[in-house]
């Protein structure tokens, strides 16, 4: 459904493309306005990444709340939204996680129509390899858990993996490949396009996107949030939603909250562009290494955390060595490629490896954070659930378990089962 105020000629379509190509491309407009902050909004979302913009979009489109601002300290989409490895999947083990991520994946499947924007969603499949009998058992268990929740999962044996990935080293002496668990509907999407698509869609429905507007304080009166101190002045707010993964502890501290979160580094890499080689997303089970190929041809890969608290946004060499050796163990041909780019993002690592979409102890202040390294695939689902939680002042059943209180109540959603060690999730 097009938004109410949207003139039909502002929609993106093949006809529009033809018209503009004839007219010399003079009719394209700015995809979102650059307004001055108003004195007060019904809802202010802190953080102009995918999650914040998706929240604003769903607040306007689903709940009819359009007096909304998204404040962002830099330009939009240059934090973790621009630093991830673009993978979309819902192959989780625990029911709370599967339900949430599967809902998100379904939103992904209709996102381009919803936003009238090409987010380059490509369901090329996500394959997790296993290398031992016990890993196989864990994969079967996970697959069954997914099937019970209505998610697609296919167990591949050794020969099926070999046929699918002829370039892979099946008989590595330490890590022979015994098979894999495939989620055919998993895949990749263009991360920047997701941010731009949500920004444009939210803007069309009247949301103000305030870039270069850093929050310096959260003003509360008698246990209730009343607005934000920012570098562009005070902005009054009926409700405030925090969606600043990486800096969540700092934002929450402005409101006097201390969270079960540590910030850690996760690195990612892109190789030089080559002809099509890797047709799906592959996860190497013998280390922590995953790889896919972008539409430009570069191989995009990453792995484990650097393993200590950091806000530096650049990774360290021991992990680079570890990752490269894992990659070459799985795909020996990688040793012939050069790495073009390397970067790191700041992960909100929680004490059980699962996120928060919830109310806080302060009236009118809501939290979306703790995404560990699962934030990108969650973008539409998190926005949808966060918008619901803010609009109704209560969680949707999909995010009812994703609370801070779960740590008080002993209801941790510990997908990895490693205990309260954020660097080990």
């Amino acid at each position: 459904m097009p938004a109410r105020h949207e003139p039909i000629f502002d929609r993106y379509s093949v006809w529009r493309l033809l018209k503009e190509s004839i007219d010399g491309n003079r009719g394209w407009k700015q995809a979102w306005r650059k307004p001055e902050p108003k004195a007060r909004y019904d809802v202010v979302i802190v953080g102009g990444g995918g999650h914040g913009l998706a929240t604003a979009h769903y607040l306007a489109s689903v709940h009819g709340i359009t007096n909304v601002a998204v404040v962002e300290k830099g330009p939009i989409g240059l934090g973790n939204s621009g630093r991830n490895t673009t993978i979309v999947r819902s192959n989780y083990l625990l029911p709370s996680n599967i339900r949430f991520y599967e809902y998100s994946l379904r939103l992904w499947e209709g996102l381009e129509r919803e936003l009238n924007y090409n987010v380059m969603m490509s369901q090329r499949g996500q394959l997790s390899l296993f290398h031992s009998a016990s890993e196989r058992d864990a994969a079967v268990r996970r697959g069954n858990s997914m099937l019970i929740q209505g998610v697609d999962a296919v167990l591949l044996d050794r020969e099926a993996v070999r046929a699918m990935l002829p370039f892979i080293a099946m008989d590595n002496p330490m890590f022979p490949i015994l098979g894999g668990l495939l989620q055919p509907r998993g895949g990749t999407a263009r991360h920047d396009a997701v941010v731009w698509g949500f920004a444009r869609a939210a803007n069309r429905r009247g949301v103000d996107i305030l870039e270069h507007c850093e929050v310096t304080g959260i003003r509360c009166e008698s246990g209730r949030v009343v607005g934000l101190e920012t570098t562009r002045g005070f902005i009054g707010a009926g409700k405030v939603g925090i969606a600043v993964a990486g800096n969540t502890s700092q934002l929450a501290a402005m409101a006097g909250l201390r969270l079960p979160i540590e910030t850690h580094l996760l690195q990612a890499f892109v190789s030089e562009a080559i002809k099509p080689l890797i047709g799906c997303v592959i996860n190497f089970g013998a280390g922590h290494f995953y790889i896919s190929q972008s539409d430009k041809g570069g191989l995009v890969f990453g792995g484990a955390l650097d393993g200590y608290n950091s806000y530096s946004q650049h990774g360290n060499l021991p992990l680079v060595e570890h990752l490269m050796s894992a990659g070459v163990s799985m795909v020996p041909a990688l040793s012939r490629l050069r790495v073009l780019r390397q970067w790191a993002g700041m992960m909100d690592m929680t004490m059980d490896g699962s996120p928060f979409i919830c109310r806080t102890s302060i009236e009118g202040l809501y939290l979306n954070g703790g995404w560990c390294y699962g934030g990108f695939k969650a973008t539409p689902g998190a926005g949808w659930c966060f918008a619901y939680t803010i609009a109704k002042n209560e969680p949707h059943p999909l995010n009812a378990d994703l609370t801070i209180d779960r740590f008080f109540e002993g209801r941790m959603i510990d997908e990895a089962g490693v205990g309260p060690k954020p660097w080990a999730q």
Partner: protein
């Protein structure tokens, strides 16, 4: 690469160490209550800047050391034994 000056072994690469988390949290008294234990086990300051933390020199002397490290620049200011004060 972090270079950690272990008080027992001298300058060593970070590969020889395991990170063991925030060293400022202290175990509360046994009957301090649920809130105190929640703070001890789960809640963290997660500072942007100087952070006091445990590292385990597992591939060296196998002792735990207390390090003061900047989480933005990765600069290490002090490395002390577990019972020494950081400041």
């Amino acid at each position: 690469m972090l270079l950690i000056h272990c008080p027992y072994c001298g300058a060593r690469a970070q590969d020889e160490f395991h990170y063991r988390g925030d060293a400022n949290v202290e175990r509360p008294a046994p009957h301090a209550g649920q809130k105190a234990f929640y703070d001890f086990v789960y809640a963290r300051d997660n500072p942007r800047g100087w952070h006091v933390e445990w590292w385990h020199h597992y591939a060296g002397c196998r002792r735990w050391v207390k390090i003061e490290r900047n989480t933005v620049t990765h600069e290490i200011r002090t490395v002390k034994g577990p019972t020494q004060d950081t400041r």
